[in-house]
């Protein structure tokens, strides 16, 4: 079935930091155009004056006392890091050194 192209998958993938293969881009494009054509039916429901429901229960601004407690040790927090050094996460260089 021919469908209008509603979504630019390659562009959205860049926003989502996903480096898709050409095959994936084509497949997701087809799948998601179908999904988006389907969800367009939401337009038939009149929502004038309806509040969006971001949460299923009326819980707002749940606050608690700011009391110090125990938390994960440095060692435990780093235990699943793909790379670490001196008790810190090791990441690629993000700032070029000045010359």
């Amino acid at each position: 079935m021919e469908q209008n192209n509603l979504i630019d998958v390659a562009y959205i993938a860049r926003l989502a930091k996903l480096e898709l293969t050409a095959e994936e881009t084509a497949r997701f494009s087809e799948d998601l155009n179908q999904v988006l054509a389907y969800v367009a039916q939401l337009d038939q429901w009149d929502t004038t004056g309806v509040e969006p429901m971001y949460h299923p229960l009326p819980v707002f601004d749940a606050m608690r006392e700011d009391t110090p407690g125990t938390s994960l040790s440095n060692e435990a927090a780093l235990s699943n890091a793909p790379a670490q050094e001196d008790g810190q996460f090791r990441v690629p260089k993000v700032v070029e050194s000045a010359h």
């Binding site: 959205i12 926003l15 997701f28 309806v50 429901m53 819980v59 890091a81 990441v91």
Partner: protein, 469 residues
């Protein structure tokens, strides 16, 4: 094969007919024997379970009872991988609150159950570590995403299990595998330690062999938790209190929108059978309407994918989990890590979620879906002014065949139409098995209740379960 409910094994344990150590051994034997064919478990740690069994306190309500835990619920010192390559080597440095509470009630968390990757899927086919088979319907899917939890309980490899339900992921596999599954009211169970998929929809709950066991587990895991600010401060209660009581005079709504011609004959028959039994039990069946029933799949997939695209941004190859090798700079590291770490369905949903949240589309999709969600919740609020509970199917069919490649993603999403509403509106819902003819695959039936009315829900489910037996 291991038979017997929690209450059965509790009697055996407290009478001294079996020791907690022997029970762990028995379950481990079942796992070793049956898991290679079913793939309900991704891992288990027999030594840790035996160490816990040696210390078991049988005076506690779940004393000595091993319980299997879905792979997206954190378990201290155990793999918590969400069935994803992204977390292939992840070992949790803490326990989820639900696990802490099970342990406090005497239970022994034992075994990590398979699932659709990051809980995204309805068939148990999206695991990075192999699909799960349905022990109650060979050649057919076990349902999902709590595929392993349902298959372990149905396949005699677990007495009971924890699952998670974002759009039906406890109730639907329970239905396809012929066991009981309940999604509690949103906020009943702390989400601390549950790897987030869609935070406004996710809820942990039990998968068990009968309704009473589900209530017993809820007694252990429900209640406010300071570590989850969205967990409810509503008082918990003894959820077993209504079990065994009659349901005369209870008003049960049957939405006319749920009598769709899209239901398979066995699902239509299960619904009819339930109406008949409930009537015989003295309940009054009332026809009701949920005018926005048709809108739920569209609203759900927008909201769930939007929340997922945000929640899954934490998997970036920096703090935990997988990091792609040989990358050039930070951006390349993120993109290659996420490309190779996530499976296809996860990527598909991240893209959809990113799209509906992106500039220019937010109002048309995300805000619109949240407004329609209000309308759906309003339908239920109005219905519960008329009735005490709502009856409906769990899924339009029994378990589909394995590897049915003719299904598009959209077609699989549409099969969630009866389970999604409880998540959108935050309501509790239970699936219990209906009797089926010899050789037929399991079919469940669903009951829904108002917020925090789990005791009433379990009372009616137990009455119906007894009438079916």
């Amino acid at each position: 094969m291991l038979n017997g409910t929690i209450s059965h094994w509790r009697k055996q344990l407290t009478s001294g007919s079996i020791s907690p150590t022997e029970l762990v051994e028995e379950i481990a034997r079942s796992m070793e024997e049956r898991n290679p064919a079913i793939n309900a478990y991704l891992s288990w740690d027999k030594e840790a379970a035996l160490a816990a069994a040696a210390q078991a306190d049988l005076s506690k309500p779940l004393g000595g009872i091993p319980i299997a835990i879905k792979d997206n619920i954190a378990m201290l010192g155990q793999p918590t991988r969400c069935a994803s390559r992204m977390l292939e080597s992840f070992v949790s440095p803490y326990d989820a609150t639900a696990v802490t509470r099970l342990t406090a009630a005497g239970a022994i968390p034992f075994g990590r159950t398979n699932m659709d990757e990051f809980a995204m899927g309805s068939y148990g086919q999206n695991s990075a570590f192999g699909e799960t088979q349905n022990p109650a319907a060979p050649g057919h899917v076990p349902g999902g995403s709590s595929s392993g939890s349902a298959a372990a309980v149905a396949g005699g490899m677990a007495i009971a299990a924890l699952g998670s339900d974002t759009g039906g992921s406890i109730r639907q596999p329970a239905s396809h595998c012929g066991v009981v599954g309940i999604k509690p009211t949103y906020g009943r169970v702390s989400r601390y330690g549950l790897v987030a998929f869609a935070s406004s929809l996710d809820q942990i709950g039990p998968i068990t062999q009968n309704v009473e066991d589900a209530a017993t587990i809820l007694n252990a895991i429900c209640g406010h938790d300071a570590k989850d600010s969205t967990s409810s401060t509503e008082a918990t209660e003894d959820f077993t209190a209504g079990i065994g009581k009659d349901i005369k005079g209870l008003r049960i709504g049957l939405p006319k929108e749920y009598l769709s011609s899209g239901n398979s004959p066995e699902v239509a028959a299960a619904l009819q059978q339930s109406v008949q039994k409930l009537t015989e039990l003295g309940a009054e069946i009332v026809e009701i309407s949920l005018p926005h029933a048709e809108a739920v799949v569209a609203a759900y997939y927008i909201i769930a994918c939007a929340e997922a695209s945000s929640n899954l941004s934490r998997f970036d190859g920096i703090r935990y989990g997988y990091r792609a090798a040989g990358t050039n700079g930070l951006d390349d590291l993120y993109s290659k890590t996420r490309e190779t770490g996530f499976g296809p369905e996860v990527k598909r949903r991240i893209i959809l979620g990113t799209y509906v949240l992106s500039s220019g589309f937010y109002d048309a999709y995300y805000a619109k879906a949240q407004k329609v969600r209000s309308l759906v919740a309003g339908d239920f609020a109005a219905a519960f002014n008329q009735v005490d509970l709502i009856l409906g199917p769990v899924a339009p069919t029994s378990a589909p065949r394995l590897h049915d490649d003719s299904m598009t993603p959209l077609q699989t999403y549409l099969a969630d139409i009866y389970t999604i509403p409880a998540n959108l509106a935050g309501l509790p819902g239970i699936s219990i098995p209906c009797p089926v003819a010899e050789g037929q695959h399991p079919v469940g039936i669903q009951l829904l209740a108002p917020h925090f009315a789990e005791t009433r829900l379990l009372q009616a489910a137990a009455a119906l379960e007894k009438a079916f037996s």
